[in-house]
């Protein structure tokens, strides 16, 4: 996009997008570190991940301040208006992703023992890989202003949900087979739920990127088929 007649305006918009991009990097890292610390019971990494969440909170507040400042000074219109509202909403989603990652890290400390069996974590790892790649794709779509890529991310969320449902059943089976793993499995279940919600936030981001680029809303979200809420 060509530049504004007032160049300070361009700088402000770039700064805002820069903060969101930084948040994206931090959220991704927090998420992958939290799950790594879970799988390997790395308490040190878990603690560091919890501490680092503060930076995401700070950045989110800075984004909000910047947004209000830009509205007050520039009265943004058109593409600019969509861009700053999208940036703010995306920043909110990223902040929430940070919180969910932090919650996973806290559970690592709560479990505070090696997993009874490696196989318990395989499903969670698999779900993480997929969700993390969704998050990477959508952040990439944001930087590249790629509506088509954002749409694909929204579509792929169904897969994350499907994995969550099957993981739910799998963990349930382990618990029935061996009551000694119940505590760990319950923690893992909550972790899986957090990851599933991170996937939802990635979908929100995708919808905002799509709107930001095209000015159109993505077709309504598909109906959620989360049978775990019935069986839980």
């Amino acid at each position: 996009m060509s530049e504004h007649t007032v160049s300070a305006y361009d700088q402000e918009l770039t700064e805002l997008a820069g903060k969101v991009a930084e948040m994206g990097g931090l959220a991704e890292k927090a998420f992958s570190d939290a799950v790594s610390s879970l799988v390997s019971q790395d308490l040190e990494l878990a603690k560091v991940t919890i501490q680092k969440d503060e930076r995401l909170d700070t950045l989110q507040q800075e984004v909000e301040v910047k947004l209000i400042e830009i509205i007050a000074r520039r009265q943004p219109m058109g593409q600019d208006l969509r861009e700053i509202t999208a940036a703010t909403r995306i920043a909110n989603d990223l902040e929430r992703i940070g919180d969910l990652a932090k919650n996973v890290a806290k559970r690592v400390i709560a479990i505070d023992s090696d997993l009874q069996s490696k196989k318990l974590a395989i499903g969670v790892e698999h779900m993480t890989e997929l969700t993390l790649s969704q998050l990477k794709l959508v952040l990439d779509a944001y930087t590249r202003r790629d509506a088509e890529a954002a749409r694909r991310v929204q579509e792929a969320d169904a897969e994350v949900d499907a994995i969550y449902t099957s993981l739910f059943r799998e963990l349930l089976t382990y618990m029935m087979e061996d009551p000694r793993v119940i505590t760990q499995c319950v923690h893992l279940l909550f972790c899986a739920k957090n990851i599933e919600r991170i996937g939802d936030h990635a979908t929100n981001i995708a919808e905002n990127v799509y709107y930001m680029v095209t000015g159109e809303r993505l077709p309504e979200d598909r109906v959620k088929m989360d049978e775990t809420t019935f069986s839980a």
């Binding site: 996009m1 530049e3 219109m77 058109g78 000015g215």
Partner: protein
């Protein structure tokens, strides 16, 4: 045009107040308005925006034949109001301008009393049979223009002694006094401070209920605040017209996008 008119266009034709078709305006050899087509809806505010010199005022003036007063100006195409061609030889421009009133950029009250400013139009058009009727018209026009409380105790004082914002509302009262159906406003707030501007904008919003309003403004924020539909002009061409919220959040044409986001060279 070999496309089938869609439903929206078809209904626009039956409900619009003003309909302009293939309008061209020339000043001597200068082609100032190029093939403009637009439907203007009743009981709503339509804003014309665009860079200076793009032809907003010129096109606005075609709607009540104010361009007739400019010697070198020539208008082609068709403009109808309620289905009647306003350029038809049988139309009296003076009557037309009562039906399609106009408010200008700089408040221009006559050097007369507040009362006489408002009573001027009704007098020349013979709208009042006696003093009592004229008093009524003056009072109700000032009321509709939101000026009655400020003016009622000083009706004999000169209109030129009022503040800029009051003068502009007086000019609106003057336009209203002859019972127009359409009110054209050419940058009515450009000489006013923010408070006076807000009062005029509030007034425009109230008047919308009973009149068809077309406003030229160089302030996009003003267009966004007061209008239901916005038309963007560029170099004599009507680039894009649509619901105001669409024009300001998701314009279709790159020229509109560049203009509203402040990217014009």
């Amino acid at each position: 045009m070999n496309e089938m008119p869609n439903l929206e266009q078809a209904s626009a034709m039956t409900t619009s107040k003003i309909s302009a078709n293939n309008v061209q305006v020339y000043y001597g050899d200068t082609h100032a308005i190029r093939d403009v087509n637009i439907e203007i809806q009743p009981q709503s505010v339509t804003a014309f925006i665009g860079p200076s010199g793009c032809g907003k005022s010129t096109f606005l003036r075609t709607l009540n034949r104010m361009n007739d007063t400019i010697d070198i100006c020539r208008v082609e195409g068709t403009i109808t109001i309620d289905g009647e061609d306003i350029y038809n030889a049988k139309v009296d421009p003076v009557q037309l301008r009562a039906k399609v009133g106009m408010v200008f950029q700089k408040p221009n009250p006559f050097p007369k009393s507040i009362y006489d400013n408002v009573a001027y139009g009704p007098r020349i058009h013979g709208l009042a049979r006696n003093k009592a009727e004229l008093d009524d018209i003056v009072a109700s026009s000032l009321q509709k223009a939101g000026l009655w409380e400020e003016a009622k105790d000083r009706l004999d004082e000169p209109g030129t002694g009022m503040s800029g914002g009051q003068q502009q509302r007086l000019c609106i009262a003057r336009a209203i006094a002859v019972s127009p159906e359409v009110i054209l406003m050419d940058e009515p707030c450009s000489a006013l401070d923010p408070i006076a501007t807000a009062k005029v904008e509030e007034l425009i919003d109230e008047l919308r209920e009973n009149y068809t309003i077309v406003i030229v403004t160089h302030s996009m924020q003003q267009a966004a605040r007061v209008s239901q539909r916005t038309a963007f002009f560029h170099m004599g061409v009507l680039v894009e017209e649509g619901p105001t919220e669409d024009i300001f959040t998701n314009p279709k044409d790159k020229r509109t996008q560049d203009y509203i986001t402040g990217r014009f060279g």
